[in-house]
C-alpha cells in the first residue's frame, strides 16, 4: 500500500517543518519541550542571544493579523541571531493579485531560510512547504481552523512546568472548540503526551458531540466540565460567533460558560488556568480569574518565546 510520508519529517524521521502537532511522535514533542527549557534560561544571561541561526534569514509571513504571535516569533528568531524580515503581506503583493506560490518563489529568490506563516486558509503552510526549496523550513503560525502547533507546544510546556507528569492529568478546554485551531493542537498534543482525560466544554453549537472522535469527553455544562480538573484552558470567544446565530449574546455566554472564581473552585485547588490570548475580560473569563493566583496566562507568553526558539533551532538543524 502507498503510505504518504509525513511532510514535516525527513527520511530519518527528524523534524524539518512544523506544520501540525497531529502525527508527530511523543519523542519529538518531548525533545522540543526539553530544548525550550534550555532556551528559557538564555533570558537570564547577560547576553540574551545564542548564535545558532546566525546568517539565516527568517521571513514572518502573516497573511492574517496577529501582533502577539508575530512578535514572539520575531523575538525568538532574534535571540537565535537570525535576521528577521516582517512582511505585511495582507497589504502588499497579495492585495495586488499575486498568488501565494508566486509570493513564496519571490521571497525564496531573496534567499530566505525559513518562513513563519499565518494564513486564514487551512493548509496554506503545507502548500508552501511542498513547493519551497529543499533548504527552506516552514513553521505554521496558525492556519484557518486547522492548527496552531507552536501555541499547542507552549501550552504543553506550561502544563509540564506546573504539573510535571502528563499521565495523571484531567485537562478541561472551555469555549469555542469547533472553530479553534488552538483547541485542535492542544487536543492532539495532550493525547500524544498521554493525558488520560481531556474534556471539551461549551455549548452544543461550539462543542458538537462528534468531537468525541478526537478522544475527548464532551461536556455541555461548565460545572461538570471543570469539576476535579488539574488544568483549565479557556479559549477566546470570537466576536463573529455572535452574529452567526451560534450564540445568543456575549452576556448570556459569560453567564453560562464564563470562568468565574466560583466556577473555578470546582476544579482541583491547585488547578492552573490558561488562555491563549487575547482575553475578553468578563466574557469567557472573569478579571478576578485572569489576575488571580491560579492564572498562568503571562508565563505562557514567556514560555512561548522559548518554545519558538526550540522549534526554529531544531528544524533549522535538520536537512530535508
Amino acid at each position: 500500500m502507498f503510505v504518504r510520508r509525513n511532510p514535516q519529517l525527513n527520511r530519518n524521521d527528524e523534524l524539518i517543518h512544523l506544520l501540525s502537532i497531529e502525527g508527530l511522535p511523543a519523542g519529538i514533542l518531548q525533545h522540543i519541550l526539553d530544548t525550550a527549557g534550555t532556551f528559557l534560561s538564555v533570558n537570564d544571561r547577560e547576553v540574551k542571544k545564542v548564535p545558532l541561526l546566525r546568517g539565516k534569514s527568517v521571513f514572518n509571513l502573516f497573511f492574517e493579523n496577529s501582533t502577539r504571535t508575530r512578535t514572539t516569533f520575531e523575538i525568538a528568531a532574534k535571540r537565535l541571531s537570525a535576521d528577521v524580515i516582517n512582511l505585511d503581506i495582507a497589504r502588499s503583493s497579495t492585495a495586488k493579485g499575486e498568488s501565494l506560490l508566486d509570493t513564496i518563489a519571490n521571497l525564496s529568490a531573496m534567499h530566505a531560510d525559513m518562513f513563519v506563516v499565518r494564513h486564514s486558509e487551512s493548509g496554506a503552510p503545507y502548500l508552501i512547504a511542498r513547493h519551497c526549496a529543499p533548504h527552506v523550513h516552514v513553521v505554521n503560525a496558525g492556519d484557518g481552523r486547522h492548527s496552531h502547533p507552536t501555541q499547542g507546544l507552549l501550552d504543553m510546556y506550561t502544563i509540564r512546568h506546573y504539573k510535571k507528569d502528563f499521565t495523571q492529568l484531567t485537562v478541561a478546554i472551555v469555549g469555542d472548540i469547533v472553530h479553534s485551531r488552538v483547541a485542535r493542537s492542544d487536543i492532539h498534543a495532550l493525547t500524544t503526551l498521554g493525558v488520560p482525560e481531556i474534556r471539551a466544554v461549551g455549548p452544543k453549537t461550539l462543542v458538537p458531540g462528534d468531537l468525541k472522535e478526537m478522544g475527548v469527553r464532551v461536556c455541555h455544562d461548565l460545572a461538570e466540565g471543570i469539576r476535579g480538573a488539574d488544568v483549565v484552558i479557556t479559549l477566546r470567544l470570537q466576536n463573529e460567533r455572535m452574529s452567526g446565530a451560534m450564540l445568543p449574546s456575549a452576556g448570556e455566554y459569560a453567564k453560562t460558560f464564563g470562568l468565574s472564581p466560583e466556577k473555578l473552585a470546582l476544579a482541583k485547588p491547585d488547578a492552573i488556568v490558561m488562555h491563549p490570548g487575547p482575553i475578553n475580560r468578563g466574557v469567557e473569563i472573569d478579571s478576578a480569574v485572569v489576575d488571580g493566583a491560579q492564572s498562568v496566562i503571562l508565563p505562557q507568553v514567556t514560555f512561548g518565546i522559548a518554545v519558538r526558539m526550540a522549534v526554529m533551532s531544531i528544524i533549522a538543524g535538520n536537512s530535508a
Binding site: E14, H31, D34, T35, G37, T38, S41, V42, R45, E46, V47, K49, V50, P51, L52, S313, I314, A316, G317, N318
Partner: protein, 164 residues
Amino acid sequence: MSRIELDAEALYAGLLTGVRGLLKADGVLVGIWSGGAWLAERLQRDCGLAGEPGVISSALHRDDFSRRGLAAGAGQTKLPFEIEGRHIVLIDDVLYTGRTIRAAINELYDFGRPASVVLAVLVDRGGRELPIEAACAVARIVLPPSERIELARDAAGRFTFEIR
C-alpha cells in the same frame, strides 16, 4: 591494532593534583557537560570547595550545528555563581580538536567576563584544529581520528575510559 589502556581513576588522582595547583584564591570550577561535569563534581569535593561547581554545555555555540543539528539531551549550562572577574578552571575529560573548548568559552562569555580561564583535562589526544592548549593534561596520547574515547561513570561514581 594495539589497544591503549587508560586507568581513569589513576588519571583522576593526577588531575586533582593539577587542579589544586591551578585554582586561585577565589577560583571556581566549571565542568563541560557531560564528562567534564562529572569530574568537576568530584573535584569540587576533593578540593574542599563549598557549593556546587558550574556546568557548561557547548551545544548552543557549536560550529557544526548546521550539519548535526541540536542533539536531544545535550545538557544545560548551570553556573551557580557570578562569572564576572573570576578565575575559572575549565574541566573536561578529553581534549581533541579544541572546538568544544572554543564553544564552551563562548558560552561562558554569555554570562560575563572572567578574569582568567585555564583548562585542565584527563587526556589530550592530539589532533588540534584551533590554538587551544590545556594548562594541565594528565595523559598525552595519539589516537587515529577513527577512534573515539569517552569517559564513563558507574553507579558508585568510579570513572573508566572506553576507546572504540
